[in-house]
Symmetry: C2
Subunit: 444 residues, 2 copies
């Protein structure tokens, strides 16, 4: 093997680096070796390439950009997609989702559901996700199979769950989870997820945050998704939710608050002061009529925000390009200001800012020499993407996940010309159809 | 030729009729002859078919549904897609769109732009559109080429335009337009479009409505897109916009009010009393930060509403499935009620209610015997559409235009397995790329 060999060479097209300088390179040369981006040059097709590449990718007519980062998923909920929609929130949760989860969630369902969800994510341009669900080890195993980059979060809640009938002994569970995944794969990282301030006691929250700090991993929590969380927490603890978490000492730069639809000025000031991260899930919160997080105001205050889809029971898809389009539009109409959440800003939210939210900004989120090679290609030679004046606008306001044709994660090609290389997609669909057939049968 | 011959037979899959009874037929048989749906039966693959069909379509694994009706477009604006986004409204209009239109709109631009837009529409499931732009005859000609069903609206505005340097002599223009298109094609109907109450004088509005009444065709107008239209019209005419039009006597069941983001209770009462129709364009009004029309309240009052995309400079695509998804979500979060605009209702808006808005409900908008054959097929065998509990939910919350594989308009197959049969798509893209290259060059 020669010293100058490459694993993958990409040439042609238009490269959106999404780096600090937001360079856009026409007709670039991108060289990848051992999972790392080792060269980015101009005039790609005129480069004198020394050595050979195992794989050449011609990106003519394509946009090359960093893979998308989905900061909040519950992947196995794909099995419940479209099962119960357009319902009042509590009827949806208590009458449909929670009973279905109590009855149908098991290791096989989690693995099969997650694998199909990963097929859907790769097919629509996502390369990294952060997930919280039951039997989270199975999500990690599906990630290893699919080749996706994952932050898998062990969940905690103060009532019995399918994977933990006895909610005591949390510290043991937490430590074992982290130990199990240590050094398994550079693509799989761990985190802890306390469900919410209204389902987790102060003791649970502080214990798990302590374990997260000990392990040096992110700590996630659903926060202020719905307005009525405020009186509930005030009644129980005498403080508003964010003040409650502040008093517990669990807010810091490795805390990710998910949703945050009802944060007020004080809450945002606390987030900014302590560098708390926010996961924004506009489509889910719109469909559930939960609210719209004041993301433009949070970003103005310097709070790091990432985009996420939430679970497919409340979205109902994992296409981050739809989420991007929604994020760009909903804040404009809510604030009656067409200049907020411009195309460039929203694409940053879905790439480098998402990476920053998960603490992965040194490795992914932009295309720069030295970073891991998480790269997607979109075929722009389509009627709905013609003509092309501005790449950012086109991606945000006209493109969809179906325009992604090739995906590279950690230097490995996981999809080429829309063919998945790591997942048997027909089998993945058939496995989930069997699960849903069983659900339909037993619910009938 | 035998008496029992069919032109097209569709069998298999799931048929959503979208008829009054909203029947859903599994594994149907649909027979089409002379552009008309002549038979709908159950157990499609067991039917004894007498005679032969010219074309057989196997819809196994597909949803069969009526083609989508886009009630508001400015198709040639595809040439400006992504040219100027994320700007304050008046800077966008006066600094970019109006100057570009004054400079670059001509017959060739209108035809080429419209044809590419039709490719995009067919590829994403739309079979009928209602358009208003300059050189509208060219849109009609592109519709004849593409095989799409069209309502082409001659526009009127009180200042010189690319196609009418002298805004006087409106009645002559109006009559000639209607006469030119009389009996040209059963797929192309005409209408008149007065731009808005703030760009058209009372004399223009009453004259054109009179001509529309004489011809028995729809009369359209942008209305209450932005909030500041209210003080403008009150200052000029002493009445709120809808009251102003009421006093002019131009509101009736063949009037289509486009946008209506800022209607109040009185306005809605007038619309309901006079059966005025409303075209709802949620994505455009969100992107422009114009507002959100109170569609659930209007529908509760019995006002007929249809969906539309508006032009691609303010959307920026023509995918009605994205518009459907947006309509389902934005009203939920605006009203904080997850039960409004349920999936079934929104799909009606995009099909039968859209047809009703355009006065075409006796011919299209549902799949029923005797109606014109405007039918689309969606391939549901995809990860993001798996599993399938509820067809309406899946189409609204998970499907996208890229899932449409086959389209029939007026009994003619215009797309099969995503191949366009009436438009040379590479040439259509190349033509518009040339136009945009010229625009870029001259604006540089």
């Amino acid at each position: 093997m020669q010293t100058n060999d490459w694993d993958i060479i990409i040439t042609g097209g238009t490269l959106l680096t999404m780096s600090g300088k937001m360079e856009i390179i026409q007709n670039p040369f991108v060289g990848i070796k051992d999972g790392i981006i080792v060269a980015i040059k101009e005039n790609g097709n005129q480069q004198n390439i020394s050595g050979f590449a195992k794989e050449y990718i011609d990106a003519s007519g394509c946009i090359i950009m960093p893979g998308l980062v989905n900061t909040h998923t519950h992947l196995p909920m794909v099995c419940f997609r479209g099962m119960a929609d357009d319902l009042p929130l509590m009827e949806w949760l208590n009458g449909h989702i929670f009973p279905a989860e109590a009855r149908f969630v098991n290791k096989k369902m989690v693995y099969d559901g997650a694998l199909l969800a990963m097929a859907e994510m790769i097919l629509s341009g996502t390369t990294t996700f952060c997930d919280g669900y039951f039997f989270e080890d199975k999500i990690g195993q599906a990630a290893l199979q699919s080749g996706m980059r994952a932050v898998i979060a062990q969940g905690f809640i103060d009532f019995p769950t399918p994977d933990n009938p006895d909610p005591s002994g949390k510290m043991v569970i937490a430590k074992r989870f982290v130990d199990r995944w240590k050094n398994v794969s550079p693509l799989v990282a761990t985190a802890f997820f306390c469900h919410s301030p209204y389902t987790c006691s102060p003791e649970t929250i502080t214990t798990i945050k302590e374990a997260a700090r000990a392990a040096g991993i992110p700590f996630l929590m659903h926060l202020l998704e719905n307005k009525d969380e405020i009186p509930t927490i005030i009644k129980r603890y005498g403080r508003k939710p964010v003040q409650h978490l502040l008093s517990l000492g669990v807010l810091d730069e490795q805390t990710i608050a998910v949703h945050c639809n009802w944060v007020d000025g004080e809450d945002m000031a606390i987030f900014a002061a302590l560098d708390v991260k926010v996961s924004h899930n506009p489509e889910s919160s719109m469909k559930l009529a939960a609210g719209v997080a004041p993301i433009p105001e949070m970003m103005r205050r310097g709070i790091t925000c990432g985009l996420g889809t939430d679970g497919q029971a409340s979205n109902n898809d994992l296409d981050m390009f739809r989420e991007i389009s929604m994020a760009a539009k909903v804040h404009k109409v809510i604030t009656l200001n067409p200049t907020v959440m411009d195309a460039r800003t929203v694409l940053q939210l879905a790439t480098i800012d998402g990476a920053r939210t998960l603490g992965l900004e040194k490795r992914i989120g932009s295309i720069e020499v030295g970073k891991d090679a998480d790269i997607i290609l979109l075929d722009m030679n389509k009627p709905h993407l013609t003509p092309l004046y501005n790449c950012y606008s086109q991606l945000v306001y006209a493109a969809s996940g179906a325009d992604v044709i090739t995906s590279i994660i950690g230097g490995k090609v996981v999809m080429k010309n829309r063919r998945l290389l790591t997942i048997d997609v027909d089998r993945a669909m058939e496995n989930v159809r069997r699960i849903s057939a069983d659900i339909k049968l037993k619910q009938a």
